[in-house]
């Protein structure tokens, strides 16, 4: 159940990111070019964190499967 929630949150977050990037080219550039392109750095750090968290969730699910398995035996 917990994993389901995490996955749902993640999909929601990705959807939000996608919909915000689905703007026209100019507004996208305008958004990222403000204040010396610092927003690009934030996006890069965000991607790294999201990627590592997704992998963490994957590992988390593996461990809970193992736990379930060890309870059965």
């Amino acid at each position: 159940m917990n994993n389901f929630k995490q996955t749902a949150l993640l999909i929601l977050f990705l959807g939000m990111m996608l919909s915000s990037s689905a703007q026209t080219k100019d507004t996208l550039e305008e958004f990222f070019y403000t204040s010396g392109k610092i927003k690009m750095v934030i996006a890069v750090i965000g991607i790294v964190l999201v990627g590592l968290f997704v992998f963490l969730i994957y590992l988390d699910r593996k461990v809970s499967r193992l736990e379930k398995h060890s309870k059965k035996h």
Binding site: K37, V44, I45, L66, H73
Partner: protein, 363 residues
């Protein structure tokens, strides 16, 4: 295999330092742009825009001049609205020595800033008989005061990505080298399958030891692939807002994608073979191919072709021109910190694989 607690602490400390300093250290002052598209003989007025500059607080020592060829023309500071904008008036003659023009601003704190831009200069005559500019900059210091990351045109704050995008590849390299090493270890001892050996202070069969090497090799490759993917995505974002496109046909980019695909194929190959011993040998052999491909595509090829990546196109990646000492102070800890994090994730992954293996044995 458990990871040493000191290493975990070092990883957290290093990455904390990197996160704070890579975002906290300011950029050094630089010239952004000049708001004019055309300059003509006679009086020109324009606004020079700077970045992280101190025009207002250093109003007294502020100087503006224009340089064309080897002669300079003095600008007169009209007004300074804030620290980043200075309005200037400059009187230019009919004849200039060169078709290019550079704008300079100097003050005691920011040093000398320049903007070189493609400006319409069609109303000038370019000839030898130009009137020499009589302007001399009374420069007390050419260099800015204070510590900061270098200011580079088009890159701006994006230079901070160096601490996040580049170490992804270093980490991937580390993990793939380890994967290769364990693949080799696995291949080296495929004989004498039933000899009992000591491993981690327990007696296990030789065969079981090989399978452990195989699991290590696979886990290193899997975590390495995660870092490869992160490197590709972050690189794509960086490229979009610096070079102007999500993907460019740069040898470094295409090579990285090919490596990603090669290692994805490694995982597919593994999942297609059910017999564990056969899988261990097959994937170790394929690992050699993928590893050699990675070295060729990411280390050797980009040096022979022109690349937009700095330090490529005939040069080694690390040369003294690319990395400023302020960047080094954060970049090296970043590389070590990210590699430690990659190893930590691998160690977790490997413990889980070993447990899964044990569970399957009990069935």
């Amino acid at each position: 295999m458990m990871m040493n607690n000191w290493l975990k602490l070092a990883c957290i400390g290093l990455l904390g330092y990197v996160l704070v300093f890579s975002l906290y250290v300011p950029l050094v002052p630089g010239g952004l742009h000049v708001d004019t598209e055309k300059i003509r003989p006679g009086v020109n007025e324009f606004v020079f825009t700077g970045y992280n500059t101190h025009f207002l607080s250093e109003r007294k020592s502020l100087q503006v001049l224009i340089m064309s060829g080897n002669t300079t023309y003095c600008g007169e500071v009209v007004s300074v609205s804030d620290n980043a904008h200075v309005s200037t008036r400059v009187v230019l003659p009919d004849t200039l020595p060169s078709t290019t023009i550079t704008f300079f601003v100097n003050n005691d704190v920011d040093g000398t800033l320049s903007v070189f831009s493609a400006i319409d200069m069609s109303s000038f005559v370019f000839a030898e008989g130009y009137k020499k500019g009589s302007c001399e900059m009374a420069v007390s210091n050419n260099e800015h005061i204070g510590f900061g990351f270098p200011f580079q045109h088009k890159l701006y704050e994006g230079i901070r990505n160096l601490m996040f995008h580049v170490p992804m590849w270093f980490t991937m390299f580390f993990l793939m080298i380890m994967s290769f090493a364990y693949g080799m270890k696995c291949l080296r001892g495929t004989k004498n399958n039933n000899v009992v050996v000591q491993f981690d202070n327990t007696d296990i069969s030789h065969n079981e030891k090989l399978l452990r090497f195989d699991r290590k090799s696979a886990d290193y490759a899997k975590v390495g692939l995660v870092f490869c993917m992160l490197g590709l995505i972050t690189g794509s974002i960086w490229a979009r807002f610096t070079w102007g496109d999500w993907w460019t046909s740069d040898p470094q980019l295409n090579g990285a994608l090919a490596v990603f695909i090669a290692y994805s194929a490694y995982l597919i190959l593994r999942s297609s073979t059910l017999d564990p011993e056969k899988r261990a040998r097959l994937s170790a052999i394929y690992n050699i191919f993928a590893f050699v491909m990675m070295v060729i595509l990411l280390m050797i090829m980009p040096r022979f072709y022109d690349s937009m990546h700095p330090g490529k196109g005939g040069n080694p990646a690390f040369n003294s021109y690319d990395l400023d000492s302020s960047l080094r102070a954060v970049f090296y800890p970043a590389v070590i910190g990210w590699i430690l994090l990659g190893y930590w994730i691998y160690a977790l992954k490997n413990r889980i694989s070993n447990l899964t293996h044990k569970c399957h044995e009990q069935l």
